[in-house]
Every structure is written in structure tokens, then in C-alpha cells.
Symmetry: C2
Subunit: 255 residues, 2 copies
Amino acid sequence: MKKYKGYFIDLDGTMYRGTEKIEEAEEFVKKLKEKGISYLFMTNNSSKTPKQVAEKLISLGIPAEEHQILTSSIATANFIWERKQNASIYVIGEEGLRKALEEKGFRFVDENPDFVVVGIDRNINYEKLAKACLAVRAGATFISTNGDTALPTERGLLPGNGAITSVISVSTNVQPIFIGKPEKIIVEQGLKMLKTKKEETLLVGDNYETDIKAGIQSGMDTLLVHTGVTTKEHLKHKEIQPTYTVNNLSEWHVL
Amino acid sequence: MKKYKGYFIDLDGTMYRGTEKIEEAEEFVKKLKEKGISYLFMTNNSSKTPKQVAEKLISLGIPAEEHQILTSSIATANFIWERKQNASIYVIGEEGLRKALEEKGFRFVDENPDFVVVGIDRNINYEKLAKACLAVRAGATFISTNGDTALPTERGLLPGNGAITSVISVSTNVQPIFIGKPEKIIVEQGLKMLKTKKEETLLVGDNYETDIKAGIQSGMDTLLVHTGVTTKEHLKHKEIQPTYTVNNLSEWHVL
């Protein structure tokens, strides 16, 4: 085990499951805070604002401030800002995504946008998908907050943003730029926010396909916690293993 | 050129374009009728009933009766009927599909169906997609009327049923059984309806990827007409060419 200067911490399956708290999460984050170690919550969930996420964490006893939250929506807004500050955008998505784009001053348009941005939208309809397809065919840059194909809920696995995004990619034959984990884009923004180097930062999460792959692809150490998506049985078959694996975060000794 | 006992005729791009008539279509079908040659209109469009399709053709001067229309919805209902006559179905789709399934007496259910059936639905929403995903994950047989990725309209190319279907296949990682062209399923049903052999039946259509491929895969002769989707430029690059190609149907001599 190694001493890390910074931690990236996943949310759903790592800090909580839906509305249910994961017991060991609170102690883990409190230890980081006591030791003065930097940490950033990094989530593919585009639907909530950093403020909403921080409030939820605090309500679960987990110390968190707004500036410590990096959602795929914030990362998407940053990504576009670096490319075109006065961009026009056609957006499919919920409050977290709309707010993040609004705060950068981007213009929302229905036709001929510079960018089409797709995040999870549980009010999706045919007209929204039609407008996105027309815009992508007309040459708009196609961005999707994250490629998660399924959304774990108490009802079971519902369609995730990657599945909704596929309507547009299949129809237009244009592949989107994905921003969230396992892509490097969100990880690199996280490193800038924490001001730590990748060699001294640990990525913590429950999902091999998003969290752990994001770390591997970015050349970071990773900690897989079996409180969410990826089971031991699943993990066994992966060629590249996480740097560390624990059953729950109480097993992790913060140095 | 050869004398054919039966003709399969595509609709959109072959008989009409949206609401606009294709001039040469009327004369072509009238000649078939005069000569007593059997013909069947075969369409991937699942949204209309055979009655509605026949009425539209008649309004354009094209002789057509209900029993001469094979939609992907009718083919889907037949396909399920051959497998399970008292099937329960969760359906996403418009009137043509619902009516076709209703007429077979299938039960529509929201949970634990035997089959999930997806056809174009311009009132698609997240809840419909969620129910379909849950049912497919629970083991329902997943059927899609057709795999067309784009729908030509006066606004441009909008998402087709294949693109909508991809939400479920991407989310569940289960591939559907497609019924419409270019699949053989609809073609084989057409041959039974016309009571002709495939060697003596000609498949006529404007779209290489659906119509012509359906003919090729079924071992039938094909006639591509350049009044719709596939241009000469596109056709040039195809390894397997249609048996015949014409600019419009007045160039086709009915023997």
C-alpha cells in the first residue's frame, strides 16, 4: 500500500446505493478529511448539479463541498468551453446537464447547433431524438456525457445514457465523444481540479467497466470496492486487475 | 428479361415518396393487373394497417386490395402466431402494429410478457423503453419489426425503428429478431401469400440495403428502381448487383 495525495471517489455503488447509504463510506471520507488528503467525487451521473450531490452526501454524513464534485455534466461543459466559448448547443438531458451548460453561458438552440449534447433524460421523446439526429447529420459535434448502458434502480436495470445515445449514433452512423468514465477526459479534468499528479492519486469505485477502466486508461492506481456493480466472480475474468480490491471501504487503510 | 408469375413491390420510394405520388408506379401496377400477374405490396413500415395502406394506394390510382399488403407488423404477428398462439406481448409501436397483434388475439401486458415487440413509435418515452428492457432481461423473446435506422421525411432523415430498437439491445446486450426486409422472414411469408415460387417471383424496390438485400438473401431476382433511397453512385460500390436496374418503372417491360 502506498500513500496517496489525492483520491477520486465514485458515488453510486461506492458512497451509496440509490437512496441507501453504504455504511463504511462515511468513515472512509472522514479519515481522508482528517488527514488533509484531497478528494474529489467523480460521477458519470449527469442529472444532478454539484450542489445537489453535495447536499445528498452531507445528508448521509459524508463531508463534501460543491467544489469537490465533478459530474459528467460539469466535465462536458468544461470540454466544450475549451473548444468554443460562445458555442450553441442542442441539449437532451436533465437539470444537472442544463445548469452546467447554462453556467458557461452557452446558447441553447433547436436547430443548427455547434454541439449536440446528450445526457440521461427520463423525459426523452421522439422529437428530441429527431432534432439531435438532424443536427448531427448537419455537422454538429456529437457529445454524450457518458456511455453507461444500464442504470441500476430498485426496479432493475433501466436504460442508461449510453443506450439512449445509441439512437442517434445508430441512426446517423456518427459516433459521439463520450466524456465520463472510462474515458480519460473526465479523469484529466479531475487531476487539474485536485492539483495532484496521476501517480499520486487513487481512483476508487465499484464498477470495473467505468471506474477501474478509467484509472487503467489514465495510468492511475485503482481501488475496486465490492459494494456495487462488479462482483468477485466478474472480476476474476478481467485480464488487467485493479491495483487494490476490498469488500468494503472499512478494509482500506488510509495512510 | 424473364416472365415472372409474382411481384413483391416496395412502397415508400417505389410507389410514392411520403405523400407524393411516383408517376410511373400507377401504370406499372395496372399492367401487372391486366396481365393477371400476382403482386403483393411488401413494406417495412409497421405504423399503418393493410386497410390504410390499400386506401392510400387506391387514392393514388394504384389498384390494391387489403389482402395484397404485407407490412412488417402483419409479418411480426404471423411470426409470433406460429410460435405461441396465446402469447402475451409487451408492445412498443403505432396503430398498424397494435392492430396486427390484436387481430391474432394476443394479450398485451406490461410485465413478464412472452415477447417484447418493437415497431416505430413516435410517442416513444423512457418508461416504454424501461419496461421493454426489464422484460427482455427477464427472458422475453425480443422482436423488432424492422431494422431501418433512418426514416426519410420532408424534414430529413429521422430516427427509424432500428435506431429506437438499439436502446434495448445496447442496454440489455440482447439482439432482437428482425422481421422486415432485408430479413428472409417477411419474404418467406410473402411467397406463401402469393403462392409463387421464389424463382418465379421478382422483388421490386428502391433501397439496396433493405429491398435488394432481402431478395439476394432469399435467392430471388431483384429490380432496383432509382426513385428513392439508393442512387446510381451508391449502387456502383455494391459487390452483388440487383438482377435489373431501372431509372423508373416505365422502363420496366412487364412480360
